[in-house]
Subunit: 645 residues, 2 copies
C-alpha cells in the first residue's frame, strides 16, 4: 500500500466553486466555439448568434381561404336586394388557400359566400373591405426581424420559424468535447469474468451519460492502470482531443496522487479537497487553459461531483443557464447524524403520506450507486449542522417530477423478495405509478405506520402465545388507527446453507456448534423474532451462537453472506436461497401481510396495488420464486375499527 502523501483541502463548497469559476473567467475559456449546421439537424442545439429573418413569411400577399379574389371596390353597395355580378377572368379569379393574390385584387371572398349563376359568373350579396381573408406579406415574420436570440436552445417550433425566415443553416455552439479517463489497475470492462478485487468499469457510462444530457460531447478514453507515466500520457492525449478533461480516480490513493501531481506539473491545481460528503477528494484544475477535473472513484461521489462542478461548467461553455432544481418541503423519516464542517448530500425517497411528504434516507455509502438510482431527491445538510432530527422539515431538491412523488405508494417494513416483483408489475400496469419500499423489518413497519410515514407496511410477526401473525402486534402498537390487514403471501422460512451442506447442518440446534458461523437479521425483523422464539423453545442462549450479533437488513443480504462463505448459515426465505443457489432447511411456514391504515386504503394508488397483487401474472411470478403460497393473496385477513365517539 502506498501511504497517502497528499494533503487534501477541506474547502467549503461555495468557495471551491468560486475559486474554480473565477479561474475559468480569468482564463477566458467561457464559451465554446460555433459552427454553421443544417437547421433540420439543429434540434436542442444552442444558438451562438441571433437569427434574424432573411425573408418575410409569407413573402407574398396570400389567400387565407378558398374562394375568389376581387378588387374590393367592385363589391361596394352589394346587399341581398342589390347583388353584384362578377365575371371570372374579368372581375375575379378563383383562389385556393395559399395562392398569391392576383394583380389588381385586394380581397378574398370565401367560397361559401359566392353564388355561381352560370356562364362563369357569380353573385355576391355583401360588400367587402380590402384585405379581407388575405395573409399579407410578413403576417408571420417580417424580414430582418429577430426570430430567436443568441444562447437559445432550439425547439421544434424554432426550426420551423428559422426555415420560414429563409435560412437553411443556423449558427450554433460547438458541443464541448469532454474526455473521460477511467484510471485504476483494478478496473475491468463490463462483461469480464470477475476475480476478487476486480471492479467493473461502469462509471464512464454514467459520466458520459451526464455529459450527453448537459449538451456536451463525451469521449471515453481507454482505461489506464495506476502508473504515473501512463496516466500522464493519457492526459496529454486527452488535451489534444477535448475541451475539458475528466480523470475518474481509481479507488486507491495512488492513482489520485499521481493525477494531482500531473495536474500541478503540467498546469495548475486550484482545488483539491472540498468539504462535502460524498465527493471530498475532487480536484479542479487547468492545463493549457483547459479545465481538468478529478472525479472521485466511488460512484455516488462521482455522480455528485459531476453535478456540482461539471454541469455548471458545460452549461456555461454553451452560454445557457442551469434551470434551478425543483424543490419541496418534506419531513425526514429518521434521525441522521452528520459531521460538523462537512456539507452532506443525503439521498432520499419521497412519498406523500396524508398531508405531508416524507423523506426516507437511503444508504449514505459513497459506493452505493443504487442509492442514486432509487433517490427521488437530495437533502443538503449544511456544514454547520450536526444532523437532522426525526420529523424535521427539510428542503429536498427533486430528481423526479413532483407528479411522480404524488403517484408513489410507500411501503415500509419487512423485506420480501416479492416486493421487487410487485414494483415491476405496478410499473407494467400503471406506468405513471411508483413503489417506494424501505426494508426496516416488521416492527419498523409498524412504527412507520404509527408515525404516518408509509401507506402500508409488510410484516410477518408471530405471536408465540396465540400462534397467530400480526394481529396482536397491530392491536398493541397501533391502538388509535383503523387498519386493514391484507395477505400478500404465505412463505417458507428456513436455514440457508451452502450448496451441498458441507458442515452437515440439520436444524437450529446446530447453530450453537463451535464450527458454525451464523449471520443474523436486524432487531425488529420478523425473521429475527422467529429465530429468538425457536431459540427460546430449544433453550439455546444467543451468546452461544457465533455471529448472532452480525446483522443484515434483507433476506438477500443474508443469503449473499452465506454464498460468499463468510457465514455458514442464516435464517431466511426459500426464494432468497434459490436466488443464490443455496441449500435450504425448512423451519416454519409463515404468513406475510400488508397492513394498511383505513385512511389510505381507499386511495386510488393503494387500490391499484391491491388490484395488481391478485392478477395471475403476478401470482405466477411469485410462485416461480419457490416457497410461496398465493392462495390467500389479496384476502382481507382482519379489519381493525377503532370505536368512535
Amino acid at each position: 500500500m502506498k501511504k497517502r502523501d497528499v494533503y487534501l483541502d477541506n474547502m467549503p463548497l461555495s468557495e471551491a466553486k468560486k475559486v474554480f469559476f473565477k479561474s475559468l473567467e480569468a482564463k477566458n475559456v467561457a464559451l465554446a466555439g460555433d459552427e454553421m449546421i443544417d437547421v433540420r439537424k439543429s434540434l436542442n442545439r444552442i444558438t451562438a448568434a441571433p437569427v434574424f429573418a432573411k425573408i418575410s413569411s409569407p413573402h407574398y400577399h396570400s389567400a387565407a381561404m378558398d374562394g375568389i379574389a376581387v378588387a374590393s371596390e367592385q363589391t361596394i353597395g352589394a346587399d341581398e336586394k342589390h347583388p353584384v355580378t362578377l365575371k371570372e377572368g374579368v372581375h375575379f379569379k378563383y383562389v385556393d388557400t395559399g395562392d398569391p393574390l392576383p394583380d389588381g385584387c385586394d380581397t378574398v371572398i370565401m367560397i361559401e359566400e359566392v353564388h355561381p349563376v352560370g356562364d362563369g359568373e357569380v353573385e355576391i350579396i355583401s360588400s367587402y373591405s380590402p384585405w379581407n381573408h388575405v395573409r399579407s406579406i410578413g403576417e408571420d415574420i417580417v424580414a430582418t426581424e429577430l426570430i430567436v436570440p443568441e444562447n437559445h436552445r432550439l425547439r421544434p417550433q424554432d426550426l420551423a420559424a428559422i426555415l420560414a425566415g429563409g435560412h437553411t443553416e443556423v449558427c450554433v455552439r460547438v458541443k464541448p468535447a469532454v474526455a473521460i479517463i477511467p484510471t485504476g489497475t483494478e478496473l475491468v470492462s463490463p462483461g469480464s469474468l470477475l476475480k476478487p478485487g476486480d471492479i467493473i468499469e461502469y462509471n464512464s457510462a454514467m459520466l458520459s451519460g451526464y455529459i450527453q444530457e448537459w449538451g456536451g460531447n463525451p469521449v471515453v478514453l481507454e482505461k489506464v492502470i495506476d502508473d504515473r507515466e501512463k496516466i500522464r500520457a493519457r492526459i496529454v492525449q486527452a488535451l489534444n482531443q477535448a475541451d475539458v478533461i475528466i480523470v475518474n480516480a481509481g479507488s486507491s490513493a495512488g492513482s489520485e496522487d499521481y493525477t494531482s501531481d500531473i495536474i500541478k506539473d503540467l498546469g495548475e491545481l486550484v482545488v483539491h479537497g472540498v468539504a462535502i460528503r460524498p465527493g471530498k477528494p475532487v480536484m479542479l484544475g487547468f492545463i493549457e487553459n483547459k479545465p481538468i477535473i478529478g472525479i472521485p472513484g466511488y460512484p455516488v461521489s462521482a455522480a455528485l461531483t459531476m453535478n456540482l462542478f461539471v454541469k455548471p461548467l458545460i452549461y456555461q461553455m454553451q452560454g445557457i443557464p442551469i434551470k434551478p432544481s425543483q424543490t419541496l418541503k418534506a419531513n425526514i423519516a429518521r434521525r441522521i447524524v452528520s459531521n460538523l464542517g462537512v456539507e452532506e448530500f443525503l439521498r432520499v425517497k419521497l412519498g406523500r403520506i396524508g398531508d405531508k411528504i416524507v423523506a426516507s434516507p437511503l444508504s449514505r455509502g459513497a459506493g452505493v450507486i443504487t442509492s442514486v438510482v432509487r433517490a427521488d431527491g437530495i437533502v443538503r445538510i449544511p456544514a454547520l449542522k450536526e444532523g437532522l432530527e426525526t420529523g424535521e422539515e427539510v428542503e429536498v431538491e427533486l430528481l423526479r417530477e413532483k407528479s411522480d412523488i404524488e403517484n408513489t405508494v410507500v411501503i415500509i417494513g419487512s423485506h420480501d423478495v416479492t416486493l421487487d416483483l410487485l414494483a415491476n408489475e405496478i410499473k407494467r400496469h400503471y406506468p405513471e405509478m411508483n413503489i417506494s419500499s424501505a426494508h426496516v423489518g416488521s416492527m419498523g413497519g409498524i412504527m412507520a405506520l404509527k408515525r404516518k410515514e408509509a401507506h402500508m407496511a409488510g410484516m410477518h410477526l408471530l405471536d408465540p402465545d396465540t400462534g397467530e401473525y400480526n394481529v396482536s402486534y397491530i392491536k398493541r402498537f397501533l391502538p388509535e388507527q383503523d387498519i386493514v390487514l391484507v395477505n400478500l403471501v404465505y412463505r417458507q422460512q428456513g436455514l440457508m446453507i451452502p450448496k451441498g451442506n458441507p458442515k452437515g447442518i440439520k436444524g437450529i440446534e446446530d447453530l450453537k456448534r463451535n464450527d458454525i458461523i451464523f449471520v443474523n437479521r436486524q432487531r425488529g425483523a420478523g425473521t429475527r423474532l422467529l429465530l429468538d422464539l425457536k431459540l427460546q423453545q430449544l433453550k439455546i442462549s444467543p451468546e452461544d451462537i457465533k455471529g448472532y450479533d452480525r446483522e443484515e437488513y434483507t433476506h438477500m443480504a443474508v443469503a449473499a453472506e452465506v454464498a460468499s462463505g463468510s457465514a455458514d448459515a442464516g435464517l431466511g426465505i426459500l426464494a432468497a436461497a434459490n436466488a443464490l443457489d443455496l441449500d435450504f432447511i425448512p423451519i416454519s411456514p409463515e404468513r406475510y401481510d400488508l397492513a394498511i391504515p383505513k385512511e389510505f386504503y381507499d386511495l386510488e394508488s393503494v387500490q391499484k396495488v391491491l388490484k395488481v397483487i391478485v392478477t395471475e401474472p403476478f401470482k405466477e411470478k411469485v410462485m416461480a420464486l419457490g416457497g410461496y403460497d398465493t392462495s390467500k393473496t389479496g384476502d382481507a385477513i382482519f379489519v381493525k375499527q377503532t370505536e368512535r365517539s
Copy 2:
C-alpha cells in the same frame, strides 16, 4: 379551385381522443417491440423488461479504506496502555480501498490508526469489531435484486447500476418509427428561390423534432404534390417502413380530400374534424392496424394537433406516461372573443408584474408559427365559453419553466427595431433572462402601465403644445404612479418609399395625390399621432389620403407593405426602411423613451436591462441600423414622484 366536398365532423376534443385511443386498444397496437442493446448506448431509452442483477456488487468482501486487514479477535483488549503488536504477513496485510479482504481477516483498520514500530510490525491501541470498514458482498446490489423496472426511462445512474449488476446489454423498446409525408404542390424545399405562391416546406422539420423529443424515430419522406395517386403511393410506401404515418396536409382543400379518401379506401378513418381552434381538420385513422394521422397544413394547427394526438400515441407505444404540464394562474391582458362550440388554444406571453402574472395573447392566426416560438404558455378556452374578459383569471399550461417566467421583463408599447437588439443583448449578457415585448403603440403602453401589465413601456408621444415628448402624457394618464422616464434612443421618422422613388414623392403633401396609396399605423401609435399632427399643420384631411384606414402594428410591417408594392408610402423609422432597402424622406427626429414605474425600477431584472442599454456593443449595433442617436441612451429624462400623505 376544387370545391371542398368532404363533410368535416366537429367532434369535441375529449370524444375524438376517446374514439382514437379505443380503436388503438382494439387493434392491439399498444406497445412497440423490444431489442437488446449495449447498456452504454441506452441513455434515455425505455426498458421493455425489468432488469434484475446477475451478480452482486461488490462481488467480494472489499476494503472500504486504505489500511490493514486483520482478524478482529486479535485486537481484543487493545487500548492506549495495552497496545497490541501485529506482524505483517502473520497477523495483518496492508490493503488499499477496493482490495479483497484476505482469507482469515474480517476487519480493516484505517492506516491513520496504525503505528508502525519497525521490523514489519505495527501497534494498535483500540479493539475493533468485525466488518469494520469492510464493504461486504452485495452492499450495493445483491444478485437477483431488481435494479430498474419495466417502462423506465434510463438515466446515467441507471446505466452504471445495470453494468454493476453484471449486464452488458439491456432490453429496451424499439423507438416507434414515424413516417412524415409533406403534401402540397405549392411546397418548395428550404433554400429554393421563391416565387409568389411557393411555400417553404418547414413543417416536417418541426414535426420530426417533436417525434424525436417524444422518443420516436422520425422518417421524413419526399414531399408529394396534390395528386391522388401520388399521395396514395407515398402512403403505401410509408406503411412498409413505419409504425405510424403522418400526412401533413397541403394548404388546398384538394390534398386533404385525397388523404381522407385514401385512408377510407385502404383502412378506416375514425375521426375527421375536431372542434378545436386551430387544428380543426385533423384526421385520425388506421391502415393495416397502423395509426395514420392527417395533420393540418398551417404550422400552428400542425404543432397543436401533434401535441394533442401524436404525443400521447408515441408515449403509449413506449409504455410511458406523459408528464402532466406545469400550470399556473394568470390574468389575461385583454379581452378575447372566441367561438362557442370550439375549444380554443390561445398562445400567451407571460410575465410577473408585481404580485400577479399577466398573460398577453399572441397572434391567433393558424399560420403564425412565431406565435408558437414566442409563447410561454397555452390558455384553453373551453368550447362552452364565448371568450375571456380583460383581467380574467385563467389557467396557463406552461411551455417554459416557471423560473423563466419570473426572469422575464415585460415591455409593452411602441415598437422600435432596437427592442429586438435589446432582447438579444440581454440573452447574451444574462442567459437566464428573457424580454417579452408586445407592440401595441405608445398609448397602449401607457394603458398597460396603468393596468400594471408591464414593467416598462416604450413610447414617443409628441405633445404638440410643448414640443416635448412623453412627459405630459405620463402626467395626464398616469397621475397616481411614480414613473422614471429613461431615454432609449433618438431616431429619425420619415416617409418610407419604394427604391428610386418611382412616383416622385417629396413629402407629406404628396400623400393626398390620387395616385399615391398610403399605409398607416394603428390608432394610439406615436407614429400615427405624428402623422396626424403633420396633416393638421398642413391642413390635409385624413379622408383625402387613400389607405389612411389601413393599419399596421409595426414599422417593419409598414415597410413590408411598401416593399411589396401594395402601398406607395408609409411613415416610419429609417431603420425599417434600411432593413427592406427602401428610400426614405426624413420628416422629423424624435425621442423614444422607456417609462418605468418606480415600483419596478429597482427590480434586479429591470436594472439589468438598464445596464445593457448603456453598453458599447448595444449602442454600436443600434447605430449600425441607421437613423439612431444613442448619445442620451440610459439617461433619466424625467422622474415623476407623486405626493405622499
